[in-house]
């Protein structure tokens, strides 16, 4: 049993490692910024996810104690990776990409990043605020 688990863990670690390398390699290899964004958000999550799962199983099987923290970390990473990607993409859109390069939204409004600046609220209305 333990032998099987060990092979399984080794496989997990190797796969995870390979994906991690690919993710980071993609960061180097791909020519456009938006292409590079794909590499780590996917590959490394799987990479680190494998390592985390491996760790969990390892402690459960070999150390006899269950360690759920790895699961939490994995979930957290999966939860946050799309947000991170979204923000980096928006930052890239804002900095380096002209809105003419994008397809139209088709519904009349702009892509949110190019939405015109909000009208300024009269700051005096807020001057008495004391949130501290």
């Amino acid at each position: 049993m333990e032998q099987i688990v060990e092979y399984f863990l080794a496989a997990l670690l190797v796969i995870g490692g390979i994906f991690a390398v690919i993710g980071s390699y993609g960061l180097l290899k791909l020519p456009q910024m938006m292409q590079r964004l794909h590499a780590p958000t996917k590959a490394t999550t799987i990479g680190v996810g494998s390592a985390l799962i491996a760790s969990m199983i390892y402690f459960l099987v070999f150390e006899g104690k269950i360690s759920w923290h790895e699961l939490l970390i994995t979930l957290f990473l999966f939860l946050t990776a799309p947000i991170t990607a979204n923000f980096i993409a928006k930052a890239q859109l804002h900095r380096a990409i002209n809105k003419d390069e994008l397809p139209p939204t088709g519904v009349g409004s702009e892509w949110a990043t190019y939405d015109p600046e909000v009208k300024t609220v009269d700051p005096h209305l807020l001057s008495d605020r004391d949130p501290g």
Partner: protein, 90 residues
């Protein structure tokens, strides 16, 4: 034991990843690339920490790993928000 080789291999992979992130960080066309590199770096570091835990049979650093994930996320968002809006808390 095969697991030890696997751990070493994983160490190598994530380390390599880290090194490539580092290269990208210095050799990046724009600041978004750098933020992306940093974000990836955090992930790789986190993985290294977890591997270190397996290697030393100790779960003592898992909270640190969790916190790396959390702070990595917050700081990436903060950098991007700064690029987008200037004011990160508006």
């Amino acid at each position: 034991m095969i697991l030890d080789y696997a751990i070493d291999f994983a160490f190598l992979c994530f380390g390599l990843g880290l090194a490539m992130n580092l290269y990208r960080l210095f050799n990046a066309p724009g600041v978004t690339d750098r933020i992306l590199a940093l974000d990836t770096m955090v992930i790789n570091v986190l993985a290294l920490l977890v591997l270190y835990g397996i290697e030393t049979r100790s779960g003592i650093n898992f909270e640190a790993a969790l916190l790396f994930a959390m702070t990595g996320f917050v700081s990436t968002v903060a950098y991007c928000k700064f690029i987008l809006r200037g004011d990160i808390i508006e």
